[in-house]
């Protein structure tokens, strides 16, 4: 004997919000992806280069935490960047468990030339929102992102 399951209004609202969040993100991400692929980069490769560009050399696991990727994935993305001579791994002498990842000169040149275009593309994508709306979106996403993140 089953009754027809109805979601309460809280669940229905949350699901609708979630779907809109996913679609918005997918659209902006697809747009960023198209632009970056014209520079021969994937979104994750760009994320690594950008993190190193803005924050300086750091370990693989630190980069993974910053751009929210697993350690196995970081190995492959950094392997590919290393292969293209955009980054280099330097074993830490004090603790040989980890590497410090550095941008190479070529890597610095590439990311510093790409970054302004990327910034402009993101600004164009978000131009549909007013400055106040962008602030509100950012505030709500920050609130959402902090809570949803599982704290290890």
């Amino acid at each position: 004997m089953g009754t027809k399951h109805r979601f309460d209004t809280g669940e229905a609202r949350a699901l609708k919000t979630y779907v809109k969040l996913m679609r918005a993100t997918e659209s902006v991400t697809a747009r960023a992806h198209r632009q970056l692929s014209s520079f021969g980069l994937t979104i994750s490769q760009f994320g690594v280069l950008e993190a190193l560009y803005h924050l300086g050399p750091m370990s693989q696991s630190e980069i993974g935490q910053k751009i929210l990727r697993s350690s196995g994935n970081m190995t492959m993305v950094i392997d590919n960047l290393e292969k293209r001579k955009l980054v280099r791994r330097e074993r830490n002498r004090a603790d040989r468990r980890f590497f410090i990842i550095h941008l190479t000169d070529d890597g610095k040149k590439l990311i510093s030339s790409i970054f302004p275009s990327h910034a402009a593309e993101i600004a164009r994508a978000l131009d549909v929102l007013t400055p106040a709306e962008q602030q509100t979106l950012g505030r709500l996403c920050k609130k959402l992102g902090l809570e949803a993140r599982p704290e290890a």
Copy 2:
């Protein structure tokens, strides 16, 4: 003769908003992923089953458009669902270029049992926001998602 590139405040604000959007999405998505993997599904597999569950049988390209995936990816995700006997492909007789994808009985059972847990998980993730904030987030994301989507 080079001047140091500074982003105007519009670009800086857009980038900050974008980073927060990506992080929020990543957090909620990671949470949903963990839950779905305990049911043996990936997010894209779930997306296909959910689309068929709520909207009825449809072609592969229609499903791809609804869950924002490429046709090549849809082939593989549906191949895997077919292999597990959760969906079946039926060639359209009127136009043999396309298939109609149906949920199987097992597929219906699985998605109908999972969906309430998924809805509850999403509601928990979004519980950090008030109802009014969820409405606002949804409205802003809808605005963003419509504009950023490239119209073919």
